[in-house]
């Protein structure tokens, strides 16, 4: 009989056999849950302790937890529609926690929420609203997975996901339907048991499927490492990175089991999108498969059957995977960790890689050019030598000191600094910061370079550094910390943005500038507005389709610029085309590596190319010519 009282109907009494059956089912369900979850937990806990990890900065952790888990900020922001659908399901589950407890308790006659009490009525109604939203959400997700079928979810239809969706939907419907019947009708009893069965079927499925993320990912988000792409220290004489199972740490294992296989990482990966074999999702699932089959604390190599070395070395370390991941997986420490394992033990054999390492074991720069060439450039541009009296040390970096286009950027930036009256000097000697070897996993050469540079900076009494290269910024500021205390450093976009009102101003219709966010400035340093503010002094700044946090890599990072030919499409050409297609007259960059990659990509195309300029060049172009202080104009 249909009641229109809209009060949640519950069977009034339960027979003894019902109570016994319920107890048996709960015990069976919990046991099946634990049979798998206990194993997973054991593998995570048996993994190595994380060196360098400490549960500091609790405020930030709580904030991240509230934002990413409770508010579902990443889930929604990076995929608004399915993200919202997911959030509705998640919030529905949260609201349901109390309802579910009460539901099972009521089966034993100890229910604590009364459908007719004030709070009970209020809460059941509230939960009903959530249930409605949750049902709508799961229906949406079901339609997406089985009918829209975005390719990031994989080619194979996951029937297990379909079953889960059905269970969640059924849970909500059996709850909502109980509002349309009255206590002690057969319908109420049937609904109650249907709800119970769904619930107790759902529980053991969780640890057996990717729905493990329900349990693990809140912990994963809360226990993430501090900072983006935080590469853990190597400890002791036998730690060479991720070589074998014994090197997998608790955090890595926790993350591997948390993966929900949503494919956001693959969707944004420059390697996956250009026909390489690397797929960040598969890397994480490879680690998980390894843990399932072989387990932690073993000596079986991690690279080989479960993950391919070739894939690992196709990563540009652009970090879009780590940035996107809604369950807190940090892909970069894992990818770089696997590279460290291969390089630090010498198992990675690559002619280009070996050449780069040999060059940096001996020489000063990644381009393999004699240091005398840097001196010549400094003389030609009449760059002052840093002697401790100037405010800034202008760090040239390999590109700024040796690459022809990089030099143009340095020269332009130096002109702007002179125009602003900022005192600066360059170091007589500089070595590569070690960025490419750090990302390729060569800890030996990285340490040598970091230590040598830290000594040079200390001897020169450098207090502040500014540079045109985001890779230098990141490596000096974050990665060198393992070996000393680097002076504060900033990127020239940050420096220039502070003086934006003193830079020459062009009208916005002067030209349209499509700005490309460098990975190491954006995702690694969270600097998005500053380079735009600088570029805006030269014209109208527009964004390509993938911009800011979702910027698509130029293909140079992770040491890949030094590793010869790519398989598949070239990342640089894909990105360059996207930039050209904006119709902008100028492509604006803020990284000499991006600049170099796009220069080559634009040169390889037959289409008429827009001009390609660094933000420093965009500014320097409009400086009054009488203020030129370049040596050529001084001679005139």
């Amino acid at each position: 009989m249909l009641s229109l009282s809209f009060t949640l109907a519950e069977p009034e009494t339960f027979a003894l056999w019902e109570k016994i059956l319920l107890a048996a089912l709960i015990i069976a369900s919990a046991a099946l849950f634990w049979r798998r979850f206990g194993v997973v937990l054991d593998r995570i806990l048996k993994s190595k302790k994380d060196p360098g990890f400490h549960l500091g900065n609790l405020g930030l952790r709580v904030w991240d937890f509230v934002s990413e888990v409770i508010m579902q900020s990443k889930v929604i922001k990076q995929r608004p529609l399915p993200g919202l659908a997911h959030a509705l399901v998640f919030w529905g589950f949260c609201a349901f926690a109390l309802v579910t407890l009460n539901h099972l308790a009521s089966g034993f006659g100890v229910g604590f929420l009364s459908p007719v009490g004030t709070f009970g009525r209020f809460y059941f109604w509230l939960a009903a609203v959530f249930a409605l939203a949750c049902a709508a959400g799961i229906l949406g997700l079901f339609l997406r997975r089985f009918f829209v079928r975005p390719r990031w979810l994989g080619k194979k239809l996951s029937y297990e996901s379909g079953f889960i969706a059905f269970l969640i939907f059924a849970l909500m419907i059996t709850y909502l339907a109980a509002f349309f019947t009255t206590d002690d009708t057969p319908a109420a009893r049937t609904l109650w048991w249907a709800h119970t069965l769904c619930l107790l079927t759902f529980l053991p499925i969780i640890p057996h499927t990717k729905h493990l993320h329900l349990v693990l990912s809140p912990a994963t988000v809360f226990l993430s490492r501090e900072g983006f792409s935080a590469i853990p220290p190597l400890v002791g004489d036998e730690d060479f990175g991720l070589v074998a199972g014994q090197d997998l740490t608790q955090i890595v294992s926790l993350q591997a089991y948390s993966c929900v296989e949503c494919g956001r990482c693959s969707e944004h990966c420059p390697a996956t999108n250009t026909g390489k074999i690397l797929n960040p999702k598969e890397i994480i699932l490879g680690v998980r498969a390894y843990l399932n089959d072989i387990g932690p604390r073993t000596e079986e190599p991690l690279l080989g059957k479960y993950n391919s070395q070739e894939a690992v070395f196709q990563c540009t370390t652009c970090g879009s995977c780590e940035f996107q991941c809604p369950v807190g997986i940090e892909h970069l420490p894992i990818l770089v960790g696997l590279r460290r394992g291969a390089v630090n033990t010498g198992t990675w054999e690559d002619d280009y890689g070996a050449k780069l390492f040999n060059q940096l074991e001996r020489g000063s720069n990644a381009l393999g050019i004699g240091a005398a060439e840097r001196d010549k450039f400094i003389q030609k541009e009449a760059l002052p030598i840093f002697d401790g009296s100037q405010e800034y040390c202008l760090w040239l970096g390999c590109m700024g000191g040796y690459d022809p286009k990089g030099r143009e950027i340095v020269a332009a930036f130096a002109r702007v600094m002179r125009h602003l009256g900022t005192s600066f000097g360059v170091l007589r000697k500089e070595k590569c910061t070690g960025d490419p070897v750090r990302r390729l996993g060569n800890d030996l050469v990285f340490q040598q370079l970091a230590e040598a540079n830290l000594e040079i900076l200390a001897q020169s009494k450098v207090k502040k550094i500014v540079t045109i290269c985001p890779h230098c910024v990141r490596t000096i500021q974050e990665d060198w910390k393992a070996y000393g205390t680097p002076p504060p450093i900033e990127h020239h976009s940050e420096f220039l943005a502070r003086y934006a009102d003193r830079l020459p101003k062009q009208s916005p219709d002067h030209e349209t500038i499509a700005f490309h966010d460098p990975c190491y400035l954006g995702r690694y340093r969270n600097v998005y507005d500053e380079p735009r503010a600088v570029a805006a002094t030269a014209g109208k700044v527009i964004d390509p389709p993938r911009a800011r946090e979702r910027s698509f890599c130029c293909g140079a990072g992770g040491g890949l610029v030094f590793l010869g030919e790519e398989t598949g499409e070239r990342v640089s050409q894909v990105r360059a085309k996207e930039l050209v297609d904006t119709g902008a007259t100028t492509i604006g960059t803020a990284c000499p590596f991006c600049n170099s990659m796009f220069r080559d990509a634009l040169g390889a195309s037959n289409e008429p190319a827009p001009q390609l300029l660094d933000i420093a060049q965009l500014v320097a172009r409009s400086l009054p010519t009488d203020q030129h202080s370049s040596p050529e104009s001084l001679k005139k």
Partner: protein
């Protein structure tokens, strides 16, 4: 096969050298030292032969304390042990004297093969390896790009001028001086460096009576900068003709 690789530590190629007050050597405090390039290729060849045929690679280096870093680098790349001959002022000795020092250290080891770079990046005499062969009473071949072990000895490929090569079969034991570029150099690894800590480095003193030097170093000098710019006048056709002439007969690059 027991292989000895003789390695010299030389100023890094990037080094800005200054001549010391004596005028016969450079200010060592200014510069960083590293492994002589062709010696690095000799080491690579030795390591590859060991990997293929088994045996042992022993690194030999003569010089002051600083040579230790280069020895460690060689051990890190895979050499099994090292002999460090303590010797100062090697730069004041001629190739014969240096070869005698090395030969004394090599003899008790009775190696099957001695490898060294064809010349040093600093003084560049190119004689030490060859004299060493004479002192050890072994056959030698110079300018070697590749080495292959056969049942009876070695097959080696020498680099000649003008893109020509010479293939030689020779018996063992032997001395080879290795040309740069024949192999691809492996990189040093963290694991290698850590393992190198436990490898044996035997230190011996250089024999006192190296004999009277056969030649004396008079002095060294920094090359003078020679760069001249010539402006070619005339119209394009004339200027091009003059340019071709000059490239052919003065610069001799056409």
């Amino acid at each position: 096969m027991k292989i000895i690789v003789a390695i010299k530590q030389v100023p890094e190629r990037d080094a800005q050298v200054r001549i010391d007050s004596g005028g016969k050597w450079i200010e060592e405090a200014d510069v960083q030292f590293g492994m002589n390039e062709s010696d690095a290729y000799a080491l690579e060849e030795g390591l590859q032969l060991k990997e293929k045929h088994g045996g042992e690679v022993v690194v030999l280096s003569a010089g002051p304390e600083r040579v230790g870093t280069t020895i460690r680098e060689a051990l890190a790349k895979g050499a099994d042990r090292a002999i460090h001959v303590n010797a100062d002022n090697l730069h004041a000795l001629d190739a014969l004297a240096v070869a005698r020092i090395l030969a004394e250290a090599i003899k008790p080891e009775s190696p099957d093969l001695v490898l060294t770079g064809l010349q040093s990046d600093d003084i560049g005499l190119g004689q030490t390896g060859v004299i060493l062969a004479e002192l050890l009473g072994m056959p030698h071949a110079s300018l070697i790009l590749t080495v292959e072990k056969t049942d009876s000895g070695l097959k080696v490929k020498r680099e000649l001028e003008g893109g020509w090569f010479q293939n030689i079969e020779m018996p063992l034991p032997a001395v080879l001086t290795i040309q740069s570029g024949g192999n691809k150099l492996r990189y040093a690894t963290l694991m290698g460096i850590k393992r190198a800590k436990t490898k044996e480095v035997r230190r011996v003193d250089a024999p006192q009576s190296a004999g009277a030097p056969s030649s004396l170093l008079d002095g060294i000098s920094v090359p003078k900068k020679q760069r001249s710019t010539q402006m070619i006048d005339g119209d394009a056709r004339q200027a091009a003709a003059t340019l071709v002439e000059k490239l052919k007969f003065e610069a001799r690059i056409l």
